[in-house]
């Protein structure tokens, strides 16, 4: 990447979470493909973290840890006992199946489904991985060859940034609405318009981690947005 496009001057503010959404989105989009800027950002985040060490201590309520641990232990896959060496005993699969003959067809089916979905997932990841371990999803249009979009998802799957280009700017009475699609349900991911040159970059706020949504769509809606998509789809995956 050429030095003209680096975001070095914004990295300190990015580490402190000072940037406006659109600025932060542009920085995030650049970081997804620039290891040098990512390394510089890591250094600023370390500085920010060092400053927190000197934060005056406020004691949390005594029951806060109890609340946390009760929540965690309500989860049935907690391992109560620590076993440092050889934590997993080898499983005698032949004996396991012999004791559970009725499960065999269901397990075989589940195994086939898992293998297929694993293969599909691996194909998607191969298509979308970038050097900084971000995931990306490309959005395209069925009606315009020029309009494209990109959703960049953070390495932990939590957050994301939407970048679109070559979309027509909408009048004030309308807005583009992003839809986060999961299990056939469409959740609004926010309203936006593009700049005069058809470009937009913004952070996506989602009720669940963004990686939980396999599909995304963008429609044209009234300026105040709609509870569900009503207009034509302009971009999707």
């Amino acid at each position: 990447m050429s030095s003209e496009t680096h975001v070095t001057e914004q990295l300190a503010a990015y580490a402190l979470n000072l940037l406006a959404d659109d600025e932060a989105a542009q920085v995030a989009a650049h970081l997804a493909t620039c290891a040098a800027c990512q390394a510089e950002l890591d250094a600023y985040q370390e500085v920010t973290s060092l400053l927190t060490l000197a934060t005056p201590t406020v004691l949390p309520p005594a029951n806060l840890k109890t609340r946390l641990m009760q929540e965690i232990k309500a989860n049935d896959d907690v391992q109560e006992t620590a076993v440092p060496t050889n934590p997993r005993q080898p499983i005698n699969w032949r004996g396991w199946f012999r004791k559970r003959p009725l499960w065999q067809p269901a397990l075989a089916l589940a195994l086939i489904i898992l293998l297929i979905s694993n293969f599909q997932l691996r194909q998607q990841l191969d298509d979308t991985r970038t050097p900084a371990n971000f995931g990306t999803i490309t959005l395209s249009s069925e009606t315009s060859a020029e309009a494209t979009g990109l959703i960049i998802i953070s390495g932990d799957g939590e957050y994301g940034t939407l970048v679109v280009q070559n979309l027509p700017q909408l009048p004030e009475t309308q807005a583009y609405q992003l839809w986060l699609i999961k299990d056939g349900q469409r959740t609004s991911g926010g309203l936006f318009n593009v700049s005069e040159d058809g470009y937009l970059a913004r952070i996506i706020y989602s009720p669940e981690p963004l990686a939980h949504y396999p599909n995304f769509g963008i429609t044209i809606e009234p300026a105040e947005g709609s509870p569900g998509p009503t207009g034509n789809k302009v971009l999707g995956n």
């Binding site: 001057e9 300190a12 503010a13 580490a15 402190l16 979470n17 000072l18 940037l19 406006a20 990512q38 890591d42 250094a43 600023y44 985040q45 370390e46 500085v47 920010t48 973290s49 060092l50 400053l51 927190t52 060490l53 000197a54 934060t55 005056p56 201590t57 406020v58 004691l59 949390p60 309520p61 806060l64 840890k65 609340r67 946390l68 641990m69 929540e71 965690i72 232990k73 989860n75 896959d77 907690v78 391992q79 109560e80 006992t81 620590a82 076993v83 440092p84 060496t85 934590p87 371990n133 390495g155 932990d156 799957g157 939590e158 706020y205």
Partner: protein, 188 residues
């Protein structure tokens, strides 16, 4: 043979957390619970919200410890970044503008913290705090002022400009110069 989690490194604790060892999370909380709660509390200025943010960060650690990247940040940096980002997102999403925080850099503590770290780590933290104080004292007052609002109030550039009735460009420059200097002084 069982593990005494209190004696293991932070990264090793995360490895045990990935294997769903609740006691490892308990020790991680002992080490960082106070710090993360304090960071959240000073940003949102509200005990209940600070509790929610702290719990949310540890839930996230429990569920997503595997996403930690040791090549990018220390465990402390990973945790404090999550906490600050959660708190600031909450302030902005709720449209809350925190009152001007009365805290100043001079209030930053250099007292040893009685948390769950080993004596060696506690000493290292203590030395780091002294370095932080010295580094901050070297900054010009105008850079200290903008960094204070950014750090403890979670203000955006434009909110700082409004608060101090100062051009946006001046705020950006002072933040950048201040952070550059801190990076230079504090980085090993």
């Amino acid at each position: 043979m069982s593990v005494d989690y209190r004696t293991v490194e932070d990264q090793t604790l995360l490895a045990h957390i990935i294997n769903r060892r609740a006691e490892a999370l308990s020790v991680l909380y002992d080490r960082y619970g106070r710090l993360l709660y304090s960071v959240a509390y000073h940003l949102v200025g509200n005990q209940q919200l600070a509790e929610e943010i702290t719990l949310d960060v540890f839930r996230r650690v429990w569920d997503k410890a595997a996403s930690y990247r040791a090549d990018r940040a220390s465990v402390r940096t990973w945790l404090t970044s999550m906490t600050r980002n959660r708190a600031i997102d909450m302030l902005r999403r709720e449209g809350v503008r925190p009152e001007h925080n009365s805290i100043s850099w001079a209030d930053l503590t250099i007292e040893p913290s009685a948390d769950g770290h080993s004596p060696e780590t506690a000493v290292a933290h203590q030395m780091q705090k002294q370095r932080i104080h010295a580094a901050l004292a070297e900054l010009p007052e105008e850079q200290q002022e903008v960094l204070l609002l950014a750090f403890f109030n979670g203000y955006s550039h434009s909110q700082i400009a409004d608060q101090l009735e100062m051009p946006l460009g001046t705020v950006k420059t002072r933040i950048r110069l201040g952070m550059q200097k801190l990076k230079l002084v504090l980085q090993p």
